[in-house]
């Protein structure tokens, strides 16, 4: 399919594909098996200028938009979703800065992120606040020219590896979610520490740890926007990131289809390649159709977001929901096409199936996506009366 990409967009896509093909794919099984954090690949991405895709040129980035980010994520996910998640999570940590950071804050953090010298992370989830993000209990108490942070942030991607953390904490407990604020915490700050590396089902090249804040004292200039904006910043960050999660799903599913189809061409049963059997062709046909539908949706939503609309929560949620559910189904079917081979760790599709599951869970579960879409529909249809 020709999605009418510009020459520049195609160059970017080719570069990301080249890295996925040559640098990620040859070692993805090892990264998964041994749970290795992809330090060298992040260096390659930095060398390629891809750590700055969405960061403005004045801070050393490429100054590109959501669609370009999606093209890169899709290509990298064809290599390994664990690696691509590491990369994407850094932008998740950077989005609040991009949207709400002051000139001084942007100058302090964005150039290092764009150059790939530092990763960022977004710290929202807590043991008692997952889908119910409003239930966060971490606090940031003003003390003269400082904020003092206390609390535990759970399952934070890049924790321990990242230099910069966008932490959502309550600056005013009495106001509930309206008392939440976003603050920049640095790895070298006193009072920040990290829990053990979590052992995950999939995306095992990425690291997930707890971020522990114990009397973590930071200058008051680390506050993003104003006190009380934390929840709005969170929602806007997640809205912006959601088509990216969709892109990871599209890339992953495409790779699973490519593997399954290539296998079906080679594998002989009943005296013919299994690709020649209608039962297998129908599986592959459904997989290919769903992937193309998901890709078209992600690109359309990404392009829409790049027109800077006021509110795009509904379509952003759709661009996460549909592709990630699709990728789960497609990777399960890729294993089915490959039969016993697909189930073996010697072949890559069982990893893809394990990796796909997290896409339905992180950055807002797909049930929460349906809530967001349902809420928006309810509003729309109430107006239409």
């Amino acid at each position: 399919m020709d999605y009418l990409l510009t020459e520049e967009q195609r160059m970017l896509q080719d570069l990301a594909r080249e890295i996925a093909q040559e640098r990620i794919k040859p070692i993805r099984a090892q990264l998964d098996e041994e749970e290795i954090f992809p330090t060298e690949i992040i260096k390659d991405l930095a060398q390629a200028d891809l750590c700055g895709t969405i960061i403005p040129e004045e801070y050393g980035g490429l100054g590109l938009g959501t669609l370009e980010n999606c093209l890169v994520l899709e290509a990298l996910a064809m290599g390994c979703v664990g690696v691509a998640t590491t990369y994407a999570a850094s932008f998740l940590g950077a989005y609040p800065l991009l949207m709400y950071g002051t000139e001084a804050q942007k100058s302090r953090y964005l150039p290092a992120i764009a150059k790939g010298e530092a990763l960022a992370a977004f710290a929202l989830t807590e043991p008692q606040a997952g889908s119910d993000a409003g239930a966060i209990a971490a606090t940031a108490v003003k003390d003269g020219d400082f904020y003092v942070l206390n609390g535990n942030k759970q399952w934070i991607t890049n924790a321990g590896e990242a230099e910069f953390y966008t932490v959502i904490a309550l600056t005013d407990k009495s106001k509930g979610v309206r008392g939440a604020s976003a603050l920049m915490v640095e790895k070298s700050d006193p009072g920040i520490s990290f829990g053990k590396k979590e052992q995950k089902m999939g995306i095992r090249a990425s690291v997930t740890r707890e971020v522990v804040l114990e009397d973590c004292r930071i200058p008051k200039e680390r506050l993003l926007g104003k006190e009380g904006l934390g929840f709005i910043i969170t929602m806007k960050t997640l809205d912006l990131a959601r088509p990216g999660a969709g892109s990871l799903a599209v890339g992953l599913a495409q790779e699973a289809l490519d593997e399954a189809a290539a296998f079906a061409k080679e594998r002989q049963q009943f005296g013919a390649p299994i690709f020649s059997f209608q039962a297998v062709q129908h599986l592959l046909a459904d997989m290919a159709t769903k992937i193309e539908a998901a890709r078209a949706l992600v690109y359309a939503v990404a392009r829409y977001i790049d027109t800077k609309p006021k509110d795009y929560s509904k379509v952003a949620a759709m661009a996460k929901l549909f592709p990630t559910d699709m990728a789960m189904g497609v990777t399960v079917d890729a294993v089915q096409v490959m039969g016993g081979h697909g189930y073996m760790r010697e072949y890559p599709v069982e990893k893809m199936m394990r990796d796909a599951k997290i896409l339905q869970i992180y950055e807002g579960t797909n049930q929460i996506m349906r809530n967001i879409i349902g809420l928006a529909l309810n509003k729309e249809y109430s107006k239409k009366k």
Binding site: E8, M11, L15, E18, R23, Q47, D49, L62
Partner: protein, 264 residues
């Protein structure tokens, strides 16, 4: 500030090459081309020396107009400049005529402190252009470099990969160094450099620009001519035997005796 020149060659990607019936050289038109893989290591080493010591990296190649793609690709890795040597008169050049043309171009660039080449090109496999270029320029040549370091100003130490181990030589700058793939791991291209490379005006130098007589270049300036290019003859059939050593030795002895009888 080192002036570094990297000589690259555009080669056909496929092994399925066609030959020109007149010149007996490889036909390149219509075949997907890549930078000779060994030259990518030469370029990477040039860029690393530049990163470490400061300087500029200029990439040059001699070839048909389409060889410009190889130069743009090299610029995408971060080379500072590129020159294409292209002229109908250069066609059919052997290794000597090629080296002479490159030498003139480097002279026109104002010389170089360090010249890097790959150990050989994967199409012709001659490994001659590098050493001939050094000979024509009358500068030291160190081949098969697996490591390059700078022990003192104006000197370069080169570890040369040999069949059994390596040796280390020290040469004075300016020098020409051909590299093996063990020397480094080439970087990935940079998107910003690729964007710049797309717009960069790459000078094309022909016969007139280099001040060489027509009879010194191309087929006319070549001492050698390719008479025939053919795939190497297939080796005899091979067999793999498995088993205990004494049994295998006995079997081999029997086979050799049979052969010797058959040969009379």
């Amino acid at each position: 500030m080192l002036k570094i020149v990297v000589c690259i060659k555009q080669v056909p990607e496929t092994q399925d090459v066609r030959l020109d019936p007149v010149t007996h050289t490889l036909k390149r038109e219509g075949i997907k081309s890549i930078i000779n893989p060994f030259d990518l290591y030469a370029l990477e080493e040039g860029l690393r020396v530049k990163d470490a010591k400061g300087g500029t990296v200029t990439v040059i190649t001699m070839g048909p107009p389409q060889a410009e793609e190889a130069l743009r690709e090299a610029l995408g890795f971060g080379a500072d400049g590129a020159v294409l040597l292209s002229d109908r008169a250069f066609a059919g050049a052997d290794t000597w005529a090629t080296a002479l043309t490159l030498a003139k171009a480097i002279e026109k660039l104002g010389g170089a402190d360090l010249i890097f080449t790959g150990k050989q090109a994967i199409d012709g496999d001659t490994a001659q252009v590098g050493p001939m270029l050094a000979a024509i320029m009358n500068i030291p040549f160190a081949s098969w470099a697996r490591k390059v370091s700078f022990p003192a100003a104006g000197k370069v130490e080169v570890e040369r990969l040999l069949d059994h181990g390596y040796d280390a030589v020290e040469v004075e700058l300016p020098a020409l160094i051909s590299v093996v793939k063990e020397i480094n791991e080439p970087r990935v291209p940079s998107f910003k450099a690729k964007l710049r490379a797309k717009k960069e005006a790459i000078p094309v130098w022909g016969l007139g620009d280099l001040g060489l007589p027509a009879e010194a270049v191309g087929l006319a300036g070549s001492f050698t001519q390719v008479v025939k290019v053919f795939p190497p003859p297939a080796r005899g059939q091979s067999e793999t035997w498995e088993g205990a050593a004494p049994d295998l030795a006995a079997r081999l002895w029997q086979r050799l005796q049979e052969r010797s009888k058959a040969a009379g």
